[in-house]
Each structure stands twice: as C-alpha cells, then as structure tokens.
C-alpha cells in the first residue's frame, strides 16, 4: 500500500478530531462548524474552477438549486432523511451545471464570471416570483431523520454535524485524488495555456465542462446541507452577493490545498459571528478590507503562509 501523503493524513486527522470532539462542542460552535463545512463544500468547487483559471461569480446558482431540491424532497414520502436530501441537492445541481456548462465551458475570464452571474440572477428572479416556493420568504426545510437518527434534539444536531463532516472529508479526499490524477492535472495546464493543452490532444472544453459539473455537485450538496442545518432556505442563496462571499473565501484560502476552503470558511464564519456581535454595521467593511489585504500581500491566499513557514523552518 502506498504511504499516506500529507494532505490525506491531515484530512483523516481532522475527521477523527471533529467526530470525537463534536459532542464536546457547545451548541453554537457545533452549528458554526456544520454551517462552515457545508459552505466550504461550495468553496472546494471554486478551488477546482480557480485551478482551471475560472472565477465564477454565480456559484450561488448551484447552491440554491441544491438547497431548493433538498427542500422539496420531504414533500415526497419516505425520502426525508438528510442523506437523501443532500444527494438530491448534489444531483439536481449537477444536472443544472451540466446544462449551463454547455454554454459556460466556452467562456473565460470576466466573460465567464459575468455569464455565471447572469445565470444565478435568472434563478434568483424566478425564485422571487414563484409563490409556490415562498417567493422572497423561501420556506422551512426539515429532515425528519439524519442517517436514521431522529432529527430533533441534541442527537439530531450531532448527526447533521457528523454527516456534514463526513461529506466534507469524502469530498476533500476525492477532490485531492482527482487533482493528482491525469485529468485533474490538466486544470492548471488549461489556466496556463489552453492552446498547448489542445495540441497535446486533450479537449479543453470537455475538461472545463467536467470541472464545472464537479463544482456544481459540490455546491449543490453544500446548499442542501446548509438548508438542513439552518432549517430555512430563501432566494438570497442565488443572489450575486452570496456567490461573492464564496469567491471571497476562495481568495482568502487560496488554491494550494483541499483543506484550505474548509479552514477559510470556518474562519469567515467565526469572523462574522464576532463582527455581528460587536459592530453589525461594519461587518462588510472588515471583510472587504481583509480581502484587499490578502489580494495585495498574499496573492496565493492564507494557505501560502504555511508554505513560507515551512521554508523558513528548513
């Protein structure tokens, strides 16, 4: 058997640590971590896209599709387990991503960003006007069971947490393996020079399309889990500022490691909780300032600080 590489080891360690430490966490921290990891899944998808050289200002589209698909599931009988909700969210978002990808895969740079933004705003416009789905208010999502455990009460909360942690671990591990594979290594090559990738005999468009679908599935699963955790979904999930927040976390964490999106996401939620507590009106100011500083001084994201330390320590 191959030796475990560092990322896989870190992923496994954090899985064990989180699952064991979960019951000890206070309720607010449990909620915070669950919510951050669910959103971290969306950012994980953005990491893949950014490695391909694409910045999407419309991941809110898949996020919302996943959440709404999950939200409509309990209306069907026998399918109200959180796991089923999450799978439904991922599949629905994956299908939407495959369809949008037919068009999106042809675009790069700001045109890609703008077109993805337009798609998410189309969904937002539709959701706001659809009274069956609660218009601007959205509706409540409740999973009756989580992995067979009743969803209400402390056990339910921990079960949702465990499901999210396990999903985040699985997604991180699979994406890590994907990035190391032949197909995954084409992503940075496409970012650097598309034409040469074509010369080598690979289809740039197919790779981009595949990466879009993967990112879509991740965002959909993240949206579904967010819906289950928060218990409520609304059209704001598809608004462009939601997508902007995901981009912010992606920039903050950088694309160096699959662990970074989750850490960045937890960091943002922590920052948000404290900022809301002390000065609710300057929250965006803090976020914007942090983003500017990261872009100006740490162009590869916070994760690159670890790399620098490692160099210094050697």
């Amino acid at each position: 058997m191959k030796r475990l590489d560092r990322t896989t080891f870190a992923l496994l360690a954090s899985l064990v640590l989180l699952l064991a430490g979960g019951p000890l966490l206070p309720e607010w921290a449990l909620f915070l971590v669950t919510n951050s990891l669910a959103k971290g899944l969306v950012v994980l998808g953005l990491l893949l896209l950014m490695r391909t050289g694409l910045v999407s200002f419309g991941q809110g589209l898949y996020f919302a599709v996943g959440a709404y698909a999950a939200g409509m599931m309990p209306r069907a009988p026998g399918l109200s387990d959180a796991l089923a909700l999450m799978l439904a969210g991922g599949v629905a978002a994956g299908v939407v991503a495959a369809l949008c990808g037919l068009l999106l895969a042809r675009y790069r740079g700001i045109f890609f960003a703008m077109l993805s933004l337009a798609f998410s705003m189309i969904l937002y416009g539709l959701l706001v006007k659809t009274s069956v789905l609660g218009s601007t208010d959205g509706f409540n999502v409740a999973a009756r069971t989580v992995l067979g455990v009743a969803a209400a009460g402390a056990y339910g909360r921990y079960a949702v947490f465990a499901l999210t942690v396990a999903t985040a671990f699985a997604a991180g591990f699979l994406l890590h393996r994907f990035l190391g594979s032949h197909l995954g290594r084409l992503a940075p090559a496409i970012r650097d020079n598309e034409l040469r990738v074509e010369y080598m005999g690979a289809s740039v468009r197919n790779v981009v399309h595949l990466n879009l679908v993967i990112a879509g599935i991740l965002a959909g699963a993240g949206g579904a889990l967010t819906g289950v955790t928060v218990g409520h979904i609304d059209p704001e999930m598809a608004y462009w500022t939601t997508s902007g927040e995901f981009v912010f976390v992606a920039i903050l964490s950088g694309t160096a490691s699959v662990l970074a999106p989750f850490l960045g996401s937890i960091l943002l939620e922590l920052l948000r909780s404290f900022a809301y507590e002390y000065s609710p009106n300057t929250w965006q100011l803090v976020v914007g300032g942090a983003m500017l500083l990261v872009i100006l001084f740490l162009p590869s994201g916070l994760w690159s600080v670890f790399g620098r330390w490692r160099k210094v320590l050697r």
Partner: protein, 298 residues
C-alpha cells in the same frame, strides 16, 4: 396602442438612467481593463451626496431652482474626491495583474464602500422630492409623465454627446483612444498613461455619481441601492460589448425596452428578463454586440 407607447416611453426613461451609469463602467473598462464592481456603490454615493446637499439647500429655504445645479455639482464633487482616492490609493497597486484580480479588488472596494455609506448616512431612507415635483407633469396621449423624466432623457443624450465630443474631438480624448488601442505603444510614444488612468477613473466615478444624483429625486435613497444597480449595469455593458460607448447606448436601450415590456406584459418575469437577454446575447455573440472577436494568443 397605448400600451406600446407606454412601453417605449418607460423603456427610454429607464434606458437613459442606465446609459449614464453604464457609460462610466464601460469607459473605465475600455481604458483600464478594470470591470469596476464598486461602480454601484459610487452610484449610491452620488445619490446620498445629492440628497444631503439638495436637502440642506431646500431646508434653508433658498431658491429651489438652483437644486438642479446642485445635483450635478454633488456628482462632480463625489467624482473628484473618490476617483483619485480609489485610483491612487488602491487600484494602481494591482495594474498589470489579471483582469479577474481587478474584479476581485473592486468587489472588496464595493464591500467597504457599502458599509462606509451606512456608517455616514445610517440605515434610514432619504427623500428629496422638490426637483421632481417642481417641473410638474406632461400629458402624452392618454398617459401622464413627469417632466423630470424627460429631463433625465435629455441629460443622458447630452452626456452621450459630450462623451463623444470629448473622446473624438479633443486632444485628451485622442490620447485616450491611443491608450485603449495599445497601452504599451502609447506609453512608449510618450503618452502619460498614469495620468490618463487617473483622469479616466475620475470621469467614470463622476458618471456613476451623476447617475445616482439624477435618480435621487425620483426614488428613496436607501442602503443597498447600489447592489442591484451594478448587476444591471453589467448586463448593459456585456450586451453592448465591454469598453464600447455605442455599445453602452444600444445595450441600455435594449435592456430598458425589454424591462419595460416585461413590466407591462409579463410582470412576473420582470427581474430575470434582463439577465435572460444578457445570457442570450452572450450565447450568440460571446464578446457582446459591438466588439470584434479577439485572436487567441499562443
């Protein structure tokens, strides 16, 4: 028949408002290759500044007719203060980086400005109705329209003509065209690109603020008014072609007419009709209506 007339007039009014804002966005992109996400916040700044200045003037009991000049003066002041501040203070440090980095930097600026506005003006809404009410209304066929809306259309046309004259008729404008065409060549021939950037960004800021100042009398000025405006302006410039002034004009007209047609005939699709048009245009002409396809680099 009345419906069609209403759609055309409403659409034109909406398009005029959009054009003033989109013109600023497109000129900044054309010259500096920066898609300015903070444009919507600058628009909101213009609206707030105008309400404050005009509000104080009217409360002082002075001649209300001067308020029109004050609206424009407020916009120019916002441009002169915030244009150089943002360009010299932030943007010049990221020149030469990827276009998408520029989007992210201006997105950060957008977040900062949104809260800065809330800190200064609070979260309540502001109204100034005098400049709007003063001009009265006019009847066109069976429809009644405020004269102020006509003034807005006029303002958009004058802005467009001034920009056209400024770009093609003056020495500075010709330097601008040279920079748009080939920044490095222009710089090596002795054009001070630094100054061109500074002036262009100030002009763009001024246009955003002007859009806000001229809208201020017709709406309530509230936090978040820039958030939706910026994505509308994006739709306009993307439809017309990024960096193209005639594109911005045509894009505004298309978006304006589509929206007013949607409002009149299918109100439930109002919001997403605009983005649908944007997606359609991009699907058929990937770089917008007025921009020629670019050669791929190897």
């Amino acid at each position: 028949m009345g419906d069609v007339l209403a759609v055309v007039i409403d659409g034109t009014i909406y398009a005029s408002w959009l054009f003033i804002i989109a013109a600023g966005l497109t000129i900044v992109y054309g010259v500096m290759r920066i898609l300015n996400m903070a444009h919507g916040s600058l628009y909101a700044l213009g609206a707030y500044a105008a309400t404050s200045v005009v509000g104080a003037w009217i409360r002082g009991g002075r001649a209300p007719l001067v308020s029109y000049a004050l609206l424009i003066a407020a916009a120019i002041a916002v441009g002169l203060i915030f244009g150089p501040l943002i360009e010299r203070g932030v943007l010049r440090f990221v020149y030469g980086r990827d276009e998408i980095v520029m989007v992210l930097v201006t997105y950060a600026l957008f977040l900062i400005l949104e809260d800065a506005i809330k800190l200064v003006w609070g979260v309540e809404s502001y109204f100034i109705t005098e400049p709007y009410g003063l001009l009265g209304t006019v009847e066109i066929g069976p429809l009644t329209y405020p004269v102020y809306s006509g003034a807005l259309v006029l303002a958009a046309i004058v802005t467009g003509l001034l920009l056209r004259w400024g770009i093609y008729g003056t020495r500075y404008g010709k330097l601008l065209v040279a920079v748009i065409h080939d920044r490095e060549m222009a710089a090596s021939l002795g054009v001070n690109v630094r100054n061109v950037f500074l002036i262009t960004f100030t002009l763009g800021t001024m246009l955003a603020a002007l859009g806000g100042a001229l809208t201020a009398p017709t709406v309530s000025v509230v936090p978040g008014m820039g958030v939706e405006t910026i994505v509308l302006a994006f739709a306009v410039v993307v439809v017309g072609g990024l960096g193209s002034m005639p594109g911005a004009a045509l894009g505004s007209l298309i978006v304006g007419l589509v929206r007013s047609a949607a409002v009149h005939f299918f109100p439930q699709v109002e919001l997403f009709s605009i983005y649908l048009v944007m997606a359609l245009v991009l699907a058929l002409r990937p770089r917008g209506l007025f921009v020629a396809p670019e050669a791929r680099k190897i």
